[in-house]
């Protein structure tokens, strides 16, 4: 990851995106290799590394019988954010993510989209250098999706890193500075959209399908693979 960029993490179902993010978040231990967050090794300096990461998992881990405000208060204490910083930050996030009206309701009354927004607010409350999001747009309405994308772009503009795992190629195309395509647990490609296109006018969808096509997919996908790497057209 580079500072100040939004990196799109793409791959077909079962490619290993969620597993990779869970390893990076410390939820799973890697078979080999090392995760470093902001220069801190997750295995050797776990507390320092965790403090530098904000993670929005694929399903929100919230306490149903707390209110949003109480939950953010709890997360602020866990991440050692001083109340003088946490209170205004939490309020700003609540307003920005359109949670003001329900901030004192129990989370069990929230819709999936509202829970997703709260999960995002909790992940950025301590203003981490790196934010990782696993399918963050699931359940969000258009307004919520826009608020999320704006927030991610702003963080990148402030020099912070954002890693977004998504299935939505059009979102990745518009939101991400670079994309990394994962397939069957291996990196297939990484670069800016222009680099991946290799000078052609192919869409990200074309590039993605070409890079993740397999021989056993047969002719079914060949119509979608104008730049099949095996035919020498791969970026």
């Amino acid at each position: 990851m580079r500072a100040g960029e939004v990196l799109g993490f793409l791959g077909p179902n079962g490619a290993g995106k969620t597993t990779t993010l869970r390893v990076a978040a410390g939820l799973l231990r890697a078979d080999s290799g090392e995760v470093r967050i902001g220069g801190a090794s997750l295995s050797r300096e776990p507390m320092r590394a965790r403090a530098r990461l904000g993670f929005v998992p694929d399903r929100p881990y919230l306490y149903e019988r707390l209110t949003a405000r109480e939950f953010l208060e709890f997360v602020a204490a866990l991440y050692r954010v001083a109340p003088s910083d946490a209170a205004p930050r939490a309020q700003a996030l609540i307003e920005r993510l359109d949670l003001g009206e329900v901030a004192d309701d129990l989370i069990e009354t929230y819709s999936l989209g509202m829970k997703q927004k709260l999960s995002l607010a909790a992940a950025v409350l301590h203003d981490p250098p790196l934010l990782m999001l696993d399918e963050p747009l699931i359940g969000l309405d258009p307004r919520g999706a826009r608020a999320l994308k704006d927030l991610l772009r702003e963080r990148a503009a402030r020099g912070l890193g954002v890693l977004v795992s998504t299935h939505l190629l059009d979102v990745a195309e518009r939101l991400c500075d670079r994309v990394l395509i994962l397939d069957r647990g291996e990196k297939r490609a990484e670069g800016t959209l222009a680099e991946l296109r290799g000078g052609s006018d192919a869409s990200l969808e074309d590039v993605f399908l070409a890079l993740t096509a397999h021989p056993d997919d047969g002719a079914r996908d060949s119509s979608h693979s104008p730049r099949d790497p095996s035919r020498g057209g791969a970026p």
Partner: protein, 544 residues
């Protein structure tokens, strides 16, 4: 389509029973372990009842009185079955992952109900195999019934299984149609706990002590058995059928069994009618559970938290924040609080089982009562505090807090909750019969020794066996965990009783020093499960 669905069920059952467990899951969670536990419980019930029935028979009791015992046993099994089946039906309707898929498929409600009943067979059959079947076998063995009684037994068991299952499913559907699913589930679980505790208190405390204290106890017992046999209940009908078989009156046995079968058929009919009208609405209500819940305004205790004023935010460290969060969650979970109160009563009364208060002194009895509640709260509070919050696994891995802080917070929170419960129990006991100053000090020393060990053992059990997906407050640990915890509780009680017995052999200054040393022993031993718990929190692959 139904054929394909049945085939999928057969595959699932085969894989559940015979597949190797995943590398990250304990063998204790294998279904065959549950089968083994059910078989062990069945053997236990069979052995106990067979002893009672054989003793009565040897004492010259007529078969009718033995049938009265059978009626009582089957009645208790039926209550357990009904409670268990309502609970299970709601769980199935709320939790089964394929329900949404099946609901959208073109399957009529009755077929869906039948399919789910089939899914529930392994779970609902456990009380039949562990309670009702051993009771019938014990009766047949004590009266040396011939193999010709076997078809009657199978028919009776089938009816005794079907009746509460159908009635439970109908009741569950009606409840889910009107009440929010999660609350309904927890309320039913609390009711089931209260029912079982009531049965336990009557069976283990009231009946023995009532009979022991009454000069006409034997006559009362005869009367009770007679009433149990003539009662218009399914358990009594099955018992009367078997009494008739023992007396060689096959026609009467058939009549009783026909009555039982009719009751089962009526229950099935009722379930079918309710399913026809309520299954789809209930499932829709469960599926849209979020919208059905009322919004709670002003839930925050921090009224000023809505402002950006940082002074309104507590300056909590991580441990305080964790304790505060648990307190908030618990305060809003009245079903768990109710369950805790019911269970606390049970733990205080436990020493009365098999002990007449006239046989031992009040000081020793009250000390034992405080000991059992101190040990019991290790399970009731500490073990459940881990799965209670559901997301400890996630947050302890992601947040920059070392495992020791999570454990210390749980230890502190559990202690803060347990202490008032124990103090309340102590105050009640003191009110019933005041202790001397020395007696109170000795009881206090015992509690101070037992509580840290029980809480730390409970935390270890919660970390090892906790089920974060729980929906029944009584079943926050998986079944092997509940059994392991029961073993731990018994070991702790025996350990402390042994210590107390040993201290009793001392005298003078040595005795006083030994009592004063109990808290140190407890604190020292408590470090072992805490260290094991810490390792558990740090172990790879624990979270997922």
């Amino acid at each position: 389509m139904i054929g394909a669905l049945l085939l999928s069920r057969a595959r699932l059952a085969r894989r559940a029973l015979f597949s190797r467990p995943r590398a990250d899951s304990s063998w204790l969670r294998h279904p065959l372990v549950a089968v083994g536990i059910a078989a062990w419980m069945g053997a236990f019930v069979y052995g106990g009842l067979r002893t009672v029935l054989s003793a009565l028979s040897a004492a010259g009791a007529p078969p009718r009185e033995l049938a009265g015992v059978l009626a009582l046993a089957l009645g208790a099994a039926l209550v357990a079955l009904l409670v268990f089946d309502v609970d299970d039906a709601v769980r199935t309707l709320m939790q089964d992952q394929d329900l949404e898929l099946l609901r959208r498929a073109p399957i009529p409600p009755l077929a869906l109900l039948g399919l789910k009943a089939l899914d529930a067979v392994p779970r609902t059959l456990v009380p039949v195999l562990a309670l009702a079947a051993p009771a019938l076998l014990a009766f047949a063995g004590a009266l040396r019934l011939s193999a010709a009684a076997l078809p009657f037994g199978i028919a009776a068991l089938l009816a005794l299984w079907t009746l509460p299952l159908a009635a439970g499913a109908a009741l569950a559907l009606l409840v889910l149609r009107v009440a929010p699913a999660a609350r309904a589930r927890e309320t039913l679980a609390l009711m089931s706990t209260a029912t079982l505790v009531a049965i336990w208190i009557v069976g283990a405390v009231w009946l023995p002590h009532g009979f022991a204290a009454s000069p006409g106890s034997l006559a009362s017992l005869h009367g009770l058995l007679d009433r149990a046999l003539v009662a218009p209940t399914p358990g009594a009908m099955a018992a009367r059928a078997f009494a008739a078989i023992a007396a060689g009156a096959t026609g009467e046995a058939l009549r009783e069994l026909a009555g039982l079968a009719l009751a089962a058929l009526l229950a099935i009919l009722a379930a079918a009618l309710v399913a026809q009208s309520s299954l789809v609405p209930a499932l829709e209500r469960v599926a849209s559970g979020v919208a059905s819940k009322p919004r709670i305004r002003g839930a925050s205790s921090n009224a000023a938290a809505g402002s950006t004023d940082s002074a309104a935010w507590p300056r909590d460290g991580a441990i305080t924040a964790l304790v505060r969060r648990d307190a908030r969650l618990l305060r809003r979970s009245w079903t768990l609080l109710g369950d805790l109160l019911v269970a606390s009563t049970l733990w205080v009364l436990l020493p009365l089982v098999g002990i007449s208060r006239f046989e031992i002194g009040w000081e020793l009895l009250s000390r034992m009562m405080l000991l059992t509640i101190s040990v019991g709260l290790g399970y009731e509070i500490a073990a459940r505090s881990i799965p209670f919050e559901r997301h400890l696994e996630y947050w302890s891995r992601v947040a920059p807090q070392p495992p020791v802080r999570w454990l210390m917070a749980k230890l502190l929170g559990s202690g803060l909750l347990a202490l008032p419960v124990i103090l309340l129990a102590g105050a009640v006991l003191e009110g019933v019969h005041p202790l001397s100053a020395g007696g109170a000090a000795r009881a206090l020393a015992l509690v101070a020794g037992a509580l840290p060990l029980s809480i730390s053992s409970g935390l270890w059990a919660g970390l090892t066996f906790g089920d974060p997906e729980w929906i029944n407050p009584r079943a926050m640990l998986r079944l092997p965990g509940r059994l392991a915890t029961s073993g731990l509780l018994i070991l702790q009680i025996l350990f402390w009783l042994g210590i107390v017995f040993g201290i009793g052999r001392l005298s003078g200054r040595g005795e006083a020093l030994a009592w004063a040393g109990l808290p140190l022993i407890g604190a020292g031993l408590a470090t072992l499960p805490l260290l094991a718990g810490m390792r558990r929190l740090e172990s790879p692959g624990w979270a997922h």
